[in-house]
Amino acid sequence: MSAPTPKPTSPLGEMTGPGRFSLVGHALPWLVIAAFYFLVDDYLGLGTQVMIWVLFALSLDLALGYAGIVTLGHAAFYGLGAYAAGIFSIHVSQDPILGHFFAIGVTALFGLLSGALILHTTGVTFLMLTLVIVSIMFEIGNQARGLTGGDDGLQGIRLDPIFGVFDFDLWGHTAYIYTAVVLFIWFVIAWRLVHSPFGRSLDGIRQNARRMRAIGTPVWWRLLAIYTISAAMAGSAGALSAHATKFVGLSVLSLLTSGVVTVMLILGGTRRLYGAFIGAAIYYIVQEWTAQISPYFWEFVVGIMLIATVLFLDGGLMELGDRGARLLGGRRRAGGGE
């Protein structure tokens, strides 16, 4: 061999791969969340809702973005989490933390079982199976009126103060902070997860499942693991929603819910984790804004945004930031040419 070995251009110890971020980049969303609390007091309900959607979109990013599981059934987990938390508070205990863990457990179990049944299929067949699952869940929710309240929704959720101290107030202070904390915990978990060897193997599976089998990866088990984790996370988002609104409507299980969360994620950008933040926030802001101009206008704008994102902005809105950074700082991510 004659070619001299050039020095690697990135330090070996660094985790390379998707979503390297500067400290400023990391701090920004959390500073915004904190600032929002102090500055825009009147919109805390909106802020809480957005954060719940962020968490939901984050859960989808793990399954869809990283592992490439194209699903339209994530509302099944979100809805199940919401109902589990709500029903737990009515029939078992009003402790919100306990109820939250119960909901996470239930959805994780459901994710495990349903994933075990369907994860051997791929493509449109898998898509269809997830769609069917969420449809069946919706019907159960509608008909099991004694448990879920059916079409009237689940009412009568009462919660004790968190740790016996922080009461869920009308102004939504507690709900906001509680949601922010839960989101932060999940975010840290997700961040570590996607940058772990496990996360890298998922990335590999998304790119080429056959290759991963050829290097000895138990593909089905890996997918099942991330599907279960993602389900638990979506269930956690559902539980937050039930606790923050003290109400669960049947629509949490609707196909539209699955659709909306997917739109948010794609809009923000998949496989970036922070894409979920941007996507959910932008979706909400644009919705509020356009709906005030003319309610019909909203659907139109969402449609156009989706089409434009797919055609011109593969990486979602986060891609815009990347492109800007590249313009400013030259090529950063691609390896040096020859």
């Binding site: 809702q49 009126r145 109400f247 629509s251 909306v260 919705q287 003319s294 909203w298």
Partner: protein, 399 residues
């Protein structure tokens, strides 16, 4: 696009007086679906409210003689979940500082804001959501629309009294459907009739062939339906005719399915369908004539009043009267007390707010579809005066 522009104009028009507000502004937050599957409700509410404000002006003198401006703030629930209703209600209360909430086409939406209404002491006028128990959700809830049992029970009593011996029921598979089935059956059987079969069809159903076939085979005297107004109800009536149930002499009895707005979609086969309802569009009340004329004047010949318009009209009327009597900044409970026992001359006829339950007490009209001047119309063939919600009579409030 025209409508977008017009809507933008309205926003601008609403924004202008805000800038020059010298009069006290009383904001009313109106929550309804303007997009999605239930979009029609929002636009009907909105048109009626605008019509009312056009007729009565946006300013109303309070008891102190000062002018108050009534301003509606519209928010779209996008046919999404009730959590959206809750979030928007919070915003309206906290940010827009609305004095009243109003609207709510679907029951879950209304129920999800019960806590907010109670905690923030905001009188909340429910303009459609018809699940009977709603008004028990908050002492600040006042309903001007209807309850499902009012219709179902009256239909059952009418059928029993008018020669129907056996009936079959097909209701939509959701809470209001169960209520309708339950109260129709109860009253019908109390009057000596017998329900010989009952079905529940999926909420969004538009293919009723199998259900109609079952009814045809059971040969009842009448078929009682409860279907969401819109594509399911249209498809239901069409299937009834197509399948020959009408030819077989099975009478069709319903509630809201044959409202005037839907009649142009039927042909003469719909003649003879009987419905039990709280608003007959052709009634000659001066309020009704005024409302309908105003809508056509403002929104074109296609604009038509329905129960949403009537309820929105009455709800707005209540708010105007309350502000006139109590001023712009009375305590929430004071307003509610003002509403209790209030009688209104509604376009639908006389109504009263139940002093105990804050729910609407109203006449229920039994109408039949007939042809007049080449057009299908509902003609009253019977009437029950001032019907209280039967569900509440059956389930008295716990003290």
């Amino acid at each position: 696009m025209k409508r977008f522009i017009r809507a933008a104009g309205v926003v601008a028009a609403l924004a202008l007086p805000m800038a020059s507000a010298s009069a006290d502004v009383v904001k009313v937050g109106l929550l309804a679906d303007f997009t999605g599957a239930f979009a029609v409700w929002g636009s009907q509410f909105q048109q009626a409210i605008k019509a009312y404000q056009e007729v009565h002006g946006t300013k109303i003198k309070g008891p102190d003689g000062k002018e108050n401006e009534i301003q509606f703030v519209y928010r779209d629930l996008t046919s999404a979940g009730p959590e959206k209703a809750k979030q928007l209600a919070e915003e309206l209360v906290l940010r827009e500082k609305v004095k009243f909430l109003a609207g709510f086409d679907l029951s879950p939406q209304a129920m999800s804001v019960a806590d907010i209404a109670t905690q923030a002491k905001i009188p909340t006028i429910i303009m459609n959501a018809a699940t009977a128990s709603i008004t028990r959700g908050s002492p600040y809830f006042v309903r001007v629309s209807m309850t499902i049992p009012q219709h179902g029970a009256a239909a059952g009593r009418w059928a029993a009294k008018n020669g129907v011996k056996t009936a079959y029921t097909i209701v939509s598979d959701y809470a209001p459907g169960y209520d309708a089935e339950n109260f129709f059956t109860k009253e019908f059987e109390k009057g000596g009739g017998k329900v010989i079969g009952s079905e529940r069809s999926p909420q969004q159903e538009t293919n009723y062939a199998a259900y109609m076939e079952k009814v045809l085979r059971a040969k009842p005297d009448a078929l009682f339906m409860f279907q969401p107004a819109g594509s399911p109800s249209l498809a239901f009536v069409k299937a009834y005719i197509e399948r020959g149930l009408k030819a077989a002499g099975i009478k069709l009895i319903g509630t809201g399915e044959m409202q005037q707005i839907f009649l142009p979609q039927f042909n003469d086969d719909a003649i003879g369908v009987v419905t039990s309802f709280h608003y007959t569009e052709t009634n000659k009340n001066p309020e009704n004539i005024a409302l309908r004329a105003q809508l056509k004047k403002m929104f074109g010949q296609d604009a038509d009043a329905d129960i949403a318009s009537v309820a929105a009209w009455d709800g707005t009327d209540l708010i105007y009267q309350a502000v006139a009597a109590l001023g712009p900044s009375a305590d929430g409970l004071k307003y509610v007390d003002f509403f209790k026992g209030k009688k209104l001359n509604s376009p639908r006829g006389p109504i009263m707010i139940d002093p105990d339950e804050r729910d609407v007490i109203q006449n229920i009209y039994i109408r039949q579809v007939e042809k007049r001047d080449g057009k299908l119309v509902n003609i009253d063939i019977g009437q029950e005066d001032m019907v209280k919600d039967p569900w509440k009579l059956e389930n008295p409030a716990k003290k």
